[in-house]
């Protein structure tokens, strides 16, 4: 490493994607550390190495366990990949994830656009509502939804598929904090009013403006919210469990309790899909940052 790097004013932002509601504002210059003694410079490395060890050990442990089935090294993998319930559960979760993204985008993009254009003073109020999922824990939400919508006048959860629709809508609501934040960030980076007026002067109506002018301009910003939503839905246990849905997480929870080796293999599969989605976020964010 270079001991003393002169960080320019454009040295990259480390804010990640602000998943938990930290203000994702771009940063100015990173303070330049002055020349320090060797021991002082080693401290950060020690902390980082410890952190990496803590992060990586569970992964290694899972890989090891997935190869320790007493009938052979790859037996756990063979069993889980051949499991008749695994693929349908995986498929359902993927479809749920995609459907959630679509529902969430259909609600959030027009709303955030409308607020940015017409009612900017409403922004804090809308943002407050999008943050409600942080206040209502998933297990409380599913209790409330079941008690409200399964009761006689409504009976929205009387069949598997109607329950599934309620669950996807609940997932969309849970995705609001991430989705609204990324869409709103995207809208802030473009000139909404000028784009709208230009499109209108060319004769475009509202649906055309949202779908063909605004949406393409904030595509990259939306992608991070969409990927995060996908990853969350793919691993979501609580709501699916109590709504008796045969998705990936309840299936996994069953396997974890009964078949540790197969559970390890399945965990690694779920890991790689989730991490691929989440890892892509930072790739996308970096690219968006370079474009800006």
């Amino acid at each position: 490493m270079v001991g003393l790097t002169i960080a320019g004013p454009q040295s990259g932002s480390l804010t990640g994607h602000g998943a938990a509601g930290g203000p994702g504002k771009p940063t100015g210059s990173t303070p330049v550390p002055p020349q320090r003694s060797l021991i002082r410079r080693l401290w950060p490395w020690l902390i980082v190495v410890l952190a990496v060890v803590y992060f990586v050990t569970p992964l290694l442990g899972t890989i090891r366990l997935s190869l320790r089935h007493n009938k052979g090294t790859w037996e756990a993998w063979r069993l889980i990949l051949g499991n008749e319930q695994m693929w349908p559960a995986f498929g359902q979760s993927i479809v749920n994830g995609l459907a959630t993204i679509v529902v969430s985008l259909l609600i959030i993009v027009p709303t955030a656009y409308w607020v940015a254009l017409k009612m900017p003073r409403l922004r804090p109020f809308i943002e407050f509502i999008t943050l409600l999922p942080f206040v209502i824990p998933g297990v409380v939400l599913v209790l409330a939804l079941i008690r409200l919508y399964s009761a006689p006048p409504l009976l929205l959860t009387s069949t598997y598929n109607s329950t599934r629709i309620v669950m996807i809508c609940a997932y969309a609501a849970l995705s609001f904090p991430y989705m609204y934040r990324s869409v709103d960030n995207g809208l802030r980076s473009i000139d909404v009013r000028s784009l709208t007026e230009a499109a209108q002067s060319l004769g475009a109506g509202w649906p055309t403006i949202v779908a063909r002018v605004i949406f393409p301009n904030i595509r990259l910003a939306i992608l991070s919210g969409a990927l995060l939503t996908f990853a969350i839905v793919l691993g979501e246990l609580t709501i699916a469990l109590y709504m008796a849905q045969r998705t990936l997480a309840p299936f996994m929870a069953d396997i974890v309790r009964n078949k540790p080796f197969e559970a390890a293999a399945l965990t690694l599969i779920a890991f790689s899909v989730t991490w691929l989605a989440l890892g892509m976020i930072s790739y996308v964010t970096n690219r968006a940052g370079r474009k800006a």
Binding site: M1, G3, G12, L14, T15, A19, A20, G22, P23, K25, T27, S29, T30, P31, V32, R41, P44, A51, F55, T57, P58, L60, G61, T62, L65, S66, P110, T111, V115, M119, I129, P133, V135, I136, G138, V140, L141, V142, L143, A144, L145, R147, A170, A173, Q200, S201, P207, L228, A231, G235, L237, Y242, M252, V256, A263, A264, L266, A270, L278, N286
Partner: protein, 298 residues
């Protein structure tokens, strides 16, 4: 979007519309209805039912019954785990964020770590439980390595399916969440402050003790409170790990859904509302502290 089209016709193209209160509100109606149906109404109904007695009258009985041992124990355990993981995760997350921002690490290492934090902070649930079973469970990698080195974790009192075990598992998402939340604040420390303090003869210790930490304190406290709420509302990881043997507040509510373990549905609603109250208070304090810290660090 028929509503939007109506508005369009009324306004006649690109002209700046006169302020039309009602029409503008129609534009956010789909959102408000959706959030109303899936977040707000269910919570309000839950609140209303928590106030209903067995005979349908309005009463605070359910909230009085919160003082039963089952409920108190579950909240106590939840709060204990949330506090300890917020504190430990907060301290280590701060140290890692500090190393990343001010430690002079090469840029690829920094961006790799921040990406990893983004991923890991969202990594709760069944896979996390499985990964820790494979690592510090009875036949886990770490357990076996320690045993080979002559130390038996389980004989020393460690148990993955207990308070300490759950805390270790929760730290896996608490610690990176702290990194994500606190990094922007550390980046907001202005170099001028350090230079000014050095020109006035302050040591590094004095700079941190009298300038940097006081400025960062609201952010650090706020972030830790956010971590507290994050652990307090978590259900999936604990459920996957213990199947409900360790009764956290969230686990208790889950059991109340599938079968009335408290033998009083109203009490279940009161427990759920109690959770919402704790979450609302912690998120509220977080956002107040966040706003305060932005005065210096924005």
């Amino acid at each position: 979007m028929s509503v939007a089209e109506t508005v369009d016709k009324d306004m006649g193209g690109a002209k700046r519309p006169p302020f039309r209160f009602r029409w503008n509100w129609l534009g956010v109606m789909p959102f408000l209805l959706f959030a109303g149906a899936l977040l707000i109404l269910p919570t309000i109904v839950l609140g209303a039912r928590s106030l209903a007695g067995a005979d349908g009258s309005t009463t605070l009985d359910n909230y009085r019954s919160l003082a039963t041992p089952v409920v108190i124990d579950s909240f106590r355990l939840s709060i204990k785990i949330s506090l300890i993981t917020a504190l430990v995760g907060g301290i280590f997350g701060f140290l890692l964020a500090w190393s990343m921002v001010l430690g002079g690490l090469p840029k690829p290492v920094r961006s790799l770590l921040s990406t990893f934090s983004g991923v890991a902070s969202n990594f709760a649930g069944v896979p996390l439980a499985a990964a820790f079973i494979a690592t510090v469970g009875r036949v886990g990698l770490f357990t076996i390595l320690l045993k080979a080195a002559g130390f038996d974790m389980y004989k020393a009192g460690f148990d993955l399916y207990s308070f300490i075990g759950i805390s270790v598992v929760y730290l896996y998402f608490q610690f990176p969440l702290m990194v994500l939340v606190i990094t922007p604040s550390i980046e907001g420390l202005k170099e001028e402050w350090r230079e000014a303090s050095e020109n006035l003869g302050a040591s590094t210790y004095q700079y941190w003790r009298y300038i940097a930490l006081p400025v960062l304190m609201p952010s650090i406290l706020g972030a830790m409170i956010l971590l507290f709420g994050n652990a307090f509302g978590a259900h999936a990881t604990a459920f996957a790990l213990t199947g409900g043997n360790l009764r956290l507040a969230t686990i208790l509510i889950g059991q109340q859904i599938s079968g009335d373990v408290l033998q009083n549905p109203g009490l279940g609603y009161a427990v759920a509302m109690g959770m919402v109250a704790v979450m609302a208070v912690s998120i509220g304090i977080y956002s107040i502290l966040q706003r305060r810290s932005e005065r210096w660090l924005a």
